[in-house]
Amino acid sequence: MIGRPVRWSEVKNHWTLYLFVLPTLILIGLFMYYPAASGVFHSFFRWNGADISEFVWFDNYVNLLKSSEFWNSFKVVMILGLWNVIKMIPALLVAVCIHRCRSARTQFLYRILFVVPMVVPALVTVLIWRSFFFEATSGYLNRFLSATGLMDLLVNLDRWFNWGGIFVEGQSPAWLGDPRLILTACIVWGFPWVGSFAVLIHLAKLQGISKDVYEAAEIDGVSWWSKFTKIELPLIMGSVYLLLVFVIIDTIKDAGMVLALAGIYGGPGGKLTVPALFMIRKAFVEQEMGYACAIGIVLTLIVICLQKVLTWLMNPERRLWRWRPGAITEAAVVHPAKVEATRARIQRNIERHLRPGFRRWIAFQSIFLRTTKHAVIWAVLAMAFLPLYLMLVVSFKTNTQFYAAPATVTTPLHPENWRQAWQLVMPTVANSVFVSTSATALTLVFALAAAYFFARRRMPLHGFLWNAILVLMMMPMIANLVPLFRLLKDMNLLNTLSALILVGTASGQVFSIFVLRNFVADIPADLYEAAEIDGANHFQQMATVVLPLSGPILGTVGVMQFINLWNEFVLPLVVIQDHAQLPVMVQLLRMSGEYLKLWGPLMAGYAMASIPIIVLFIASMKLFVRGLTEGAVKG
């Protein structure tokens, strides 16, 4: 619970609280609000980022709104957003399957196995999919479709529904070369789409469900499907909604994966151009910086509107599609009048259970369900591990071996590929570790202090500052890329790791404060009061009360922030030019752009970029899950 309000006259007793939020305000003011304001200003200019600056009123906005390419890019991003929502389902199902495992060891094993392939950086996965799966002549996707007979089905579907010859007999579809398929390719990549964050968040929520509820359901003879729809789903809907908001906003903000998959022109015919990519192209290819700023502003406004709509829809009081709680809850808890009927049903169930034939049927059903559950989990795992497997297998091959047998282990193995890759990526891995660790540490320190400010007392300007931070949650960082670039240039920070650390810290503040404030607010007020009686000032309360309790939650937020920073490559691509300063993701992108790829060292490089993040995630998973269950992500 947020602390009591402080009047202006009382500020002199608590003024030190402002010091807690000051670093955050400086960071977000400088690296988020200033670029945004500069973006608004420049959006009224015909500006090339250098010497041409001509005030054009609303011309940029008018041209933008008249541009069919811009609206097409929104159509593309909406389709991607919709699919990303659908792609949330596998994570949910996997989480439920793991949660239903009776043995704690099995649960732990599955959790580890799912986390390993899924924390591989998205860029690495995209590049692997691009090279191995989508390649038209010998890619695995076409091979899979042909081997399973699905290709024939697609050919027939193409004929029946007149798709215009996307799938033709005897021809391999060009996933990245056909404008009609490139959007599908962008949807398909990453299959089976089991995001580790989503799985762990759902698992944390599922673990919060009391065993009593399941026992009651068992007694009531509830089927496995009803358990899911009537117990589990309603109780984790909060986290589902939260993920939904993030997924939709992230889709609109994202340009990186599209850039890696289809290039700066958005693939054949520009069919995969999303708004953020359109903006980058206008800014850095066509030199229309003013126009690019206008795109950024419109993008921000659209995200804000979308977020408002989603919040309105999700508000329990106004929710349009409110999930109806299950029968058990309604019968046993919500509607006491139905208790009698429920009791009778339970009695009938018990009698049914006592019949030998029924018990055998139940045993068979149980074995079948358990086998199916594990089979599903292993099938999904196999698919999830495929890119990782290919990465490792190819990393020990020469090009000749790779051309001859790309997917199987061949001898002799060539461990020297790893040595070669180490020389290529080691300095960049060091840069990434340094940037990610420093920015994460700074984020946690500043965000926890700011969270303390927002949770402890309602100081004057509290509401204003809180809203100022919340707004940033909806402002896509990419929208301010151009003014941010100018700002870093003016601050002489271009081509420095400091730029990445500072911007990373600033952009990490918003989400971290949002999560940590809830946690600090939930710390019992008695603890603060006891500390105050002992004469502790705010710094001491922070050190003795908040800090010792916030280990798990800091672990959760820290891991999330670290992974975000590690995977970031759009900003470094623009800001860092010197090879010695490159983070690993940009280096991988460069390595993948070699004309004659040395596949072995390239894949070893991909593996090296993934290993630190896998190690970190596995090492901190216990802490991470504890943080989640303690309320890091409140639904």
């Binding site: 060009a174 056909d178 066509e286 090009n399 051309y403 420093s438 271009l494 010197d578 004309y595 970190l616």
Partner: protein, 568 residues
Amino acid sequence: MIARAWSWFTNRFAILVVIAAFIWSSVTIISHRRQAIPPGVKTVLRIGHWQLEGGVREAFNAMIAEYQELHPDVMIVQDAIPESTYGQWFTTQLMGGTAPDMIQVGLGVPYNVLLGFYHRYFLPLSMQVNQPNPYNRGSDFETMPWRQTYKDAMRRSYIEELQEYMTIPLSQFGSRIFYNKDLLKSLTGLEEPPADFRTFLAACEAIQAQRLPDGKAYVPIASSAYHITNWEAFMCAPLTFGAVREADFNRDGYVGVDELYYAIKTGRIDFDAPPFEASFRMLRTLTNYFQTGFSGLGRDEAVMLFAQQRAVFIISGTWEAGSLEEQARDHFELGIMDFPYPTKDDPEYGNIIEGPRYEAPASNFNFAVTRTSKNPEAAIDFLQFLSSRAGNEKMNGIIGWIPAIKGTSVSRLMSAFEPHLEGTYSSMPVTVGGETIIKWTQLTSLFQIGQIDYEEMVRQYKPLYLDKGGLELIEIQRNRRRALIRDEQFVTGYRHRALMATGDELQSRMIKYRQMVAGRLINRELGNEAARTWAQANADTPAPYSFTPEVLAKIRARLTNAEPENTR
């Protein structure tokens, strides 16, 4: 005790891992920075380029090592950036003021944007290229101006809009078709590569009919989004030459971007002109023999297909010859063939083709010196070293490219790239600036894979071209005019020198001054006036190379009268 220690360790394992990683990264970064600049180095130069082909980086390293022996206080670092990200890297480097001292120019930004970049970010090199290259001392080039030591006298380095030499080239490039000799023979029975378009198509048909051991068809031509632009430029574009008769307003034998725009805008010529249409028809025919999904593939992926011996032909150039030779070694015999243009008796293109593509012996691999360079003199000195006769020969010898400097030797492989000095120009420069380039790129990619036909492509492109193309032309003119102030300053300098000169110098300096005034101030305005005239031209205006009967009679009469004089 042990259990407690183990518990302490496991509880803090994550944080210990992070701390250890942080310490390692800090130590690595610091040690790398220490190693980065060795003691005694006073000048650090950076050179950025996108040539990631085999041998280029090695050649630079070798030349840098040699240069550093001569100049131990100079250190040179090369930044090799992939083509896919080069444009964005190039732009942000220049805008951010962090660009390398020397940067390769010519990829990733439209020409109108590049013109602006020349103004803002690069040093003019006219003064230096008119002085001898000090690294040619002791040779017969000792007193020759630097630009005259080039095979093409640095023709492409001269930027007409700025009237300055802006770049230093290091190699000569050429394109040809590479082929797998063994596969061609086994699949088609041909000992020699096809010499004309019909034979080439027949060979492709024969190749496509054959199956690989895995049951898949052989690919006649390995291609990608990158390669198709070369097919378009070298094979198909010569068909467009006929447009010169309608759109070459200034009769320089070449259709400029502005000339074509005015010709289309005023209805003198349209996109459905037979030369344009034929060029795209040929491209579509060729794409039938490319592998599926070529437009979604990168350059390297097409090369991989060729290297795997699943394709017989691939278009490429001098820049990739060494890499392809390396890939083929011990696996198959690599051949290089000329473009199989249609012959005059070709049923489809015979009446349109007027010759092969003219290949100017122009130098390439151009480097500009940035204004933000802290050591521009040292940067120019290094470029002089690379473009000295000995230096250029050595560097290109390592890469396997053609040197740009006169009197240098060329490897056997490179002799296949001897340029066609007689031929035709491409006369369809239908993109002007940023937006028209992007739209045209997007539409042609749809055309190439058969998603839209030529009529549909034109239907979608023409309105945007007429609308945005005009604005982009204005932008180009603006960029040209931005040079006016500098031109006036420059001309004033010449005037000052002429006025201060005495004796024999006076006459020569006054002539130079007048030439500068004409070249820099008057001709440009005349050009603008000419453009205004073109803009008013219509379909009834006589074509640039057409003459009224009266004019022809006059010319004939003049020639007849002049004949005895000439004979005499």
